[in-house]
């Protein structure tokens, strides 16, 4: 469990419109070790989902990955080409989406699509593949998988469907799972069940997880490290304790402060004013400066570079919160 599983360097994904090309992901870099759980946190439009899709080449026009490298077990996925990527997806890297009903094929039974996911990558007899599917469904907590396997996706509840999606992702024992808001649409008690299963499975199989979410609470309970995205950039990344207990970027601090549980009941919440800039209207300099209470003239002139702190924590800010204490 040592070494580097994934190294992302300067990944940049733009969307081409008539008026020009706008960067949804604007030069993100991070590394992951085998078995690690990385929380990728951001608000809608921050580029977190596009980042996840860019890693495995699932960006369709008008989007385009234009710069950077995605080194997975030493190979650059950007230069691999579509046929090789197809072989890799679902086998070595799997993806789980928020909307499991859209991710599953409605006219195929669960068995048909899961067996296909196995036989696409390996020459396995049908009966053996079915056995593996039943075992995978049981593993994610679906009761009587022998009968449920021949049902269609609409016959499952939302939580059960997400389990099917997770079981499908796990079928080929991937090294990395990219999960995009997989529990956001679920109720809290079901979310707890799914988180419990993902945590156990990741630990047992040594699968690394990129957990894309807007919910810092979920990340806190699940992740080893966390990356906070704002307007296409990772503005802060580091170990979960470092970032949540001693954030250096004012946006991270603002997100943490606005959580209701961090404020006395009935008090005014400490809010971040304003809204995130749209893709086409990112301000020059630091994209957060218009909402930032620490902003100074320099922030409007120059985009802040990455500052490396101790313990692998790094941030992009001209005026970081000193020592991570409250300003």
């Amino acid at each position: 469990m040592s070494g580097t599983l994934l190294e992302v360097r300067g990944l940049r994904t733009v969307f081409h419109f008539l008026e020009g090309a706008y960067p949804a992901v604007d030069g993100i870099s991070f590394t992951m070790r085998p078995g690690e759980v990385l929380g990728l946190v951001g608000e809608s439009g921050s580029g977190k989902s596009v980042a996840g899709l860019s890693l495995i080449g699932l960006i369709d026009p008008p989007g385009e990955v234009v710069e950077g490298a995605v080194l997975f077990k030493g190979r650059d996925l950007r230069t691999l080409g579509e046929p090789a990527l197809r072989q890799l997806r679902g086998k070595e890297i799997a993806m789980i989406f928020q909307d499991s009903l859209a991710a599953l094929n409605p006219v195929l039974t669960v068995s048909e699509q899961m067996v296909e996911a196995i036989r696409e990558h390996a020459d396995v007899p049908l009966a053996a593949a079915r056995e593996r599917v039943i075992a995978a469904l049981r593993q994610v907590g679906i009761t009587s998988p022998e009968t449920r396997i021949d049902q269609y996706p609409h016959e499952f509840s939302g939580g059960m469907r997400q389990r099917v999606a997770i079981a499908t992702a796990l079928l080929n024992r991937p090294d990395l799972i990219i999960a995009d808001e997989p529990t956001t649409a679920l109720d809290v008690t079901i979310q707890g069940q799914i988180l419990a299963e993902m945590q156990t499975l990741a630990r047992e199989t040594g699968t690394a997880l990129i957990w894309i979410t807007h919910d810092l609470g979920v990340v806190s309970e699940l992740a080893d490290r966390v990356a906070v995205m704002y307007a296409g950039r990772i503005v802060e990344i580091g170990g979960i304790d470092d970032v949540l207990d001693r954030p250096r970027h004012p946006y991270t601090r603002g997100l943490l402060d606005s959580i209701p549980a961090e404020n006395a009941p009935g008090s005014r919440l400490r809010q971040i004013d304003g809204t995130a800039p749209s893709l086409a209207a990112r301000p020059v300099g630091c994209a957060f400066r218009l909402r930032c209470q620490r902003a100074e003239p320099l922030c409007a002139e120059r985009e802040p570079d990455v500052t490396e702190g101790p313990g692998g924590q790094s941030w992009r800010c001209h005026h970081p919160i000193p020592g991570g204490n409250q300003p």
């Binding site: 608000e43 809290v188 008690t189 707890g192 005014r268 919440l269």
Partner: protein
Amino acid sequence: MTATPTEAAAIIGLEGLSRDFQRPPVLAERLLALLGRKALPPVLKAVTDVDLAIRRGEVLGLVGESGCGKSTLGRMVSGILPPTRGRVTFDGHAVATLAGRDKLAYVLGVQMIFQDPYASLNPRQKVGDIIAEPLKVHHMAAGRREVVERVDRALAEVGLDPSYKERYPHQFSGGQRQRIGIARAFIVNPRFLVCDEPIAALDVSIQAQVINLFMDLRDRHGLTYLFISHDLSVVRHIADRVAIMYLGRLVEIAPAAELFARPAHPYTRALLAEIPSIKRRRRKFQPVQGELPSPLDPPPGCAFHPRCPFAIDRCRKERPALQPIAANRQSACHLNDQI
């Protein structure tokens, strides 16, 4: 039309409020019925026997998982949906019997804020017209100038620039759209707002802004809220009292501080344990098992018993009534005094 003292303190009262849904029978069922066979579509009991008094000036948080009936309850309170059984009272008078000015006072006095700020605004209307519509429908403004003045005031009240009224909904972010929805509800000077998951569709940093807006409006105008949410941490922040709903029935009612400090019902405990928290790291999850049962086929006895770690034989046979367990607290569990 006299109200008892306890009712007088309540702005909204719910008495045995129930709502069933039943789809129309399909052809085969109609034919079988003609032949004298019993083949009617199943009845879905969305809300069953809810008794609740919402006091003037309080924020009552209504919490439950999807499908538990909390939105159906909210829609009955706001008068959008008639109850199947039971009644809603407004200032002590049954809503169904109101007429004339009293009915108008209820219709205007109780307004609703919806979850989806994208679906609840007409995309082809300008924001100014959307907000002015209630004034026009109810002939509440003396002329064009008063309409404009009141729209401007409503926009200012929710923190939007009056110049925005010339724009269309698609030109706004989700948070701003929710503010527009609040302004539309607010323009008729309501006393009571039913807020159905009003921040669930918003981004984290925007949620805090809208929660603050709700609290400011309440402070300024002495509003009463029925605040429906699945998010316990939001309800903990904003609510004075909390009602927990499971499969169409209330299972616990308590002042917010007490509910979060000492939850009584096993379902409330399970919900509280699952609130994600930035204080917990690399948690060992031990979630409550099972899923919400189908309201078409509810389990016998206590509806929560198949998922309850404390369930005993009695829970499988006999439904526990919602009963007082302390001052201002009620819980529906056979083991109220034991666990």
